[in-house]
């Protein structure tokens, strides 16, 4: 069995993870599912691998021996806009997932996820379905609520989210399935993943100057 992209070729994945057992585990699960996986243990290895070929999917840990995964994500986002980026997180906490999201990641993967789940998540992502957890949804919607001082945690611009997207996030935060959310909001079930992808895109800060602009807009930076 081999996972194939739209062109019929095998989907290539670049896996960046410094912990060898975790790396093997993820690689095994993905290879078993038919993906073509190359792995890198450091930022430098990842960059050289990127130089050789452009992967369809980038899976990266954040804490790497020679740098931070966020830098890699930003680079890939700018150089290869078609590459899907996923962050690998031990706990799936908002600190890591949101910071990856703002530089261009569109999904996250738990390190201890079951092998079938790992494969499913990557497949969904390639199909345009970004996964989002209840706790991440909760973090985002709480940022949309106006408060006097920004809550702690990574900065996030939620100004561009539509009320519908915020409603969807509320549904996810409260544990409703996509189908339940769709029926509550009077949507088609199939449109929900698209909305979530949009949410990811909207939360992304494209350039450094834009990041500054957004921060000023939100009053996070005082000029």
């Amino acid at each position: 069995m081999s996972e194939q992209g739209e062109t019929g070729e095998a989907i290539t994945i670049l896996l960046v993870e410094d912990d060898a057992p975790t790396c093997w585990r993820l690689q095994d699960a993905l290879v078993k599912a038919g993906y073509e996986v190359r792995s890198a243990g450091t930022l430098g290895e990842a960059r050289s691998a990127l130089g050789e070929a452009t992967p369809r999917v980038l899976l990266t840990d954040l804490r790497l021996p020679d740098g931070h995964g966020v830098e890699l994500i930003r680079e890939v986002r700018q150089r290869f806009p078609d590459t899907e980026i996923m962050v690998i997180s031990a706990l799936g906490d908002e600190e890591s997932v949101i910071s990856a999201m703002t530089v261009g990641a569109t999904g996250y993967l738990l390190k201890d996820a079951f092998p079938t789940d790992i494969a499913t998540t990557v497949r969904d992502l390639v199909a345009g379905h970004s996964p989002i957890s209840a706790s991440i949804a909760r973090f985002i919607v709480r940022r949309t609520q106006n408060s006097a001082e920004p809550p702690p945690g990574p900065a996030l611009n939620t100004a561009r989210l539509t009320p519908r997207e915020i409603d969807i996030l509320w549904g996810i935060a409260k544990g409703f399935s996509y189908a339940e959310i769709a029926s509550h909001l009077g949507l088609s079930r199939q449109t929900v993943p698209g909305h979530i992808k949009n949410i990811y895109r909207k939360l992304e800060v494209h350039t450094r100057s834009e990041a500054v602009f957004e921060a000023v807009q939100q009053g996070l930076i005082k000029l």
Binding site: D112, F114, D117, S133, R138, A173, K174, E180
Partner: protein, 641 residues
């Protein structure tokens, strides 16, 4: 000096102190009396002696005899047949550059002056001129047509109403230019000055009355205002001239002087902070007596009574006042009592001077100065009181300033202590949170990690270690998740739990049926704390784990609903499985393994800690765990210790 100090000292010392203070004061008063007498001498206005006319013949009671002015006639109560003074002056038309006048510096009570038989002046028309307590002078131009070259006749009719004796000072006839300045001087001193003083008094009376109205607990202002009002009324209301019928008004005015002086004594006593003695009211008796007699009896009687009762009362009051101020000086040694004492001495001296003048012991030109000096004293007192009031205001101002400073200091201290308290509370909260976190990690993660270590050491097959490690990770996520602020919405915590549970169930091919019966899910609990969330989620975890491990269920349903009995809404979370169930033996021991029993006991104790009610039902068709949440979560973890 304070009274306590005075009482504490032994008698000889006290006497010495008294002497040391009283003697200098009395010496000072003696000096003031002498100065007053000298001042009164200086006050005597000089008259143009060149034009004096003192040789007259007096026709009185049918008899005629020569007299020399100034002259006293006997007191009388009838205006009929008044004493008639007849004299002559020489006029030469040559030196009559200006007109000639007749000038009478002092007379009592009224005069009618005629030149060559034609009346040129009748003082009865000027009510103020007839008052015996005023020293009003009179001047009248003599029409040139009346004057004859050579000797002219001047007649003065002196109207006298008792009980005082009639008095006629030297009469001056001469060019108006020579007489006018003397007349002006006297008018200034004895007419204008009293009016000025009275005007001051009336203003001060208004100010003091307002002060008293605003500060009722200080009657001293009211008493002084009353005294001043009386003085003003007495000064400005013209006394009726006999034989006017309005004698009652006259009697009221006569009563004013003794009443006024009594009021001044009351003022002195109150001003120096003494209690007004009950018998002190007797001081008002003479005034009231004169008043009552004036209301009832005819004209002469109130005047006689006034002379006999009123004037001595004034004297008695002045002496009392002098004593009061002397005592105050000895006690307080302050500027106010000294000043007041000196003022009283001056007035007393003037009163004695007037008495001597009335009784003809001192022969002067019968100028009464009591009234004038008394008015001056009242004005001085009023000014002093105003000064005291202004000083009190200043004190209030500075007190207010101090208060503001103090309040600011206190505020700063409070702020600092509040900041300290806040920091302390924050530290305490942090410590509490740490304790809780530690307990939670110990309950879950710690045990699981230890279990992993033990399993690895025994060389166990990987699957069990995997389960333990997964459980540990799950618990870690739960602890982290529960720390998040969910704003009292338990649904947000359950949302995350659903994901974790679904992930746990997926490898076992168990479906998680999630049913939210009511649209809003669960009621909001603003009092919800992380430790409540952890307990609830652990109960649900335990229920799911039991269903997976022991019941071998194929389907697990989680139902979330809000019920509303009569006492408000409450949430209910039920976990139902279609497994084979287990027999419940007793309250908490299950028929299955002891692990299950421990699990059930844990669930119960966790439910109890957050005030929830746990219901377990199990039979062959499945198990049902029903967790009924409290309406309000308990604040303290009572069962934790």
């Amino acid at each position: 000096m304070s009274e306590i100090a005075a009482k504490a000292t032994i008698k000889p010392a006290r006497r010495r102190l008294l002497a040391a203070r009283l003697v200098p004061y009395l010496l000072l008063q003696a000096l003031i009396v002498i100065a007053t007498i000298l001042g009164l001498r200086l006050l005597q206005p000089s008259d143009p002696d060149d034009f004096a006319l003192s040789g007259f013949s007096l026709r009185e009671d049918g008899a005629t005899h020569p007299v020399t002015l100034p002259h006293f006639t006997s007191s009388r109560y009838s205006l009929a047949d008044p004493p008639l003074y007849t004299g002559a002056f020489t006029f030469r038309r040559g030196d009559a550059a200006s007109g000639w006048s007749v000038f009478l510096p002092r007379f009592s009570n009224a005069v009618e002056v005629a030149v060559n038989g034609v009346v040129v002046l009748d003082s009865r028309r000027d009510a103020n001129a007839n008052r015996p307590d005023r020293n009003t002078p009179q001047i009248a131009l003599i029409p040139a047509s009346l004057l004859r070259d050579g000797s002219n006749e001047l007649t003065v009719r002196l109207f006298v109403w008792g009980p005082l004796k009639g008095f006629l000072d030297t009469v001056y006839v001469g060019p108006d230019a020579a007489l006018r300045p003397a007349y002006e001087t006297r008018t200034l001193l004895f007419v204008t000055l009293p009016v000025v003083f009275s005007a001051w008094q009336s203003i001060l009376a208004v100010i003091l009355a307002i002060m008293w109205l605003m500060r009722r607990r200080e009657p001293v202002y009211g008493v002084l205002a009353a005294a001043m009002v009386l003085g003003v009324v007495q000064a400005f209301v013209p006394p009726p001239v006999p034989p006017a019928t309005t004698s009652r008004l006259a009697s009221v005015l006569l009563a004013s002087a003794p009443t006024e002086s009594a009021l001044i004594v009351v003022f002195g006593v109150l001003f120096f902070g003494w209690r007004w003695p009950r018998y002190g009211t007797l001081l008002f008796a003479p005034g009231i007596a004169v008043f009552v007699v004036g209301l009832i009896a005819g004209p002469p009687l109130p005047r006689i009574l006034f002379l006999l009762l009123g004037i001595p009362t004034v004297g008695v009051c002045l002496v009392l006042m002098a004593c009061v101020t002397a005592a105050a000086v000895v006690r307080r040694q302050d500027a106010a009592s000294f000043t007041l004492g000196c003022a009283v001495s001056i007035v007393l001296t003037c009163w004695v001077h007037d008495m001597l003048s009335v009784s003809e012991i001192v022969t002067n030109e019968r100028i009464f100065v009591s009234r004038l000096s008394y008015s001056a004293m009242l004005v001085a007192i009023g000014a002093g009181l105003t000064w005291r009031f202004a000083r009190a205001l200043n004190q209030v101002d500075s007190f207010a300033g101090q208060l503001v400073t103090r309040v600011r200091e206190a505020e700063e201290r409070l702020k600092a202590s509040f900041a300290r308290e806040e920091a302390r509370a924050r530290a305490a909260a942090l410590a509490n949170e740490r304790t809780r976190l530690m307990r939670d990690l110990h309950d879950g993660l710690g045990g699981q990690l230890v279990s992993i270590v033990a399993l690895s050491e025994r060389g166990h097959e990987g699957a069990t270690i995997t389960d333990a490690a997964r459980a540990a990770l799950k618990d870690l996520r739960l602890v982290i998740d529960s720390m998040d602020d969910i704003g009292g919405d338990l649904m947000l915590a359950l949302g995350s739990w659903r994901e974790r549970a679904a992930m746990q169930l997926r490898p076992h091919d168990i479906a998680l049926d999630w049913r939210v019966a009511t649209p809003q899910g669960l009621p909001l609990h603003p009092e919800l704390r992380p430790w409540h969330v952890i307990q609830i989620v652990r109960i649900l975890d335990e229920a799911v784990t039991n269903a997976v491990k022991h019941a071998h269920a194929g389907n697990i349903a989680v139902t979330i609903e809000t019920l509303d009995a009569d006492q408000g809404p409450y949430g209910v979370i039920s976990v139902t499985d279609d497994g084979r169930g287990f027999a419940l033996a007793g309250d908490c021991a299950a028929a299955g393994t002891s692990q299950t029993a421990r699990g059930l006991r844990n669930m119960r104790s966790r439910a109890a800690r957050c005030g929830a009610v746990l219901d377990l039902g199990s039979d062959a068709s499945g198990t049902r765990v029903r967790l009924q949440l409290p309406q309000i979560f308990p604040d303290s973890d009572a069962a934790a210790s």
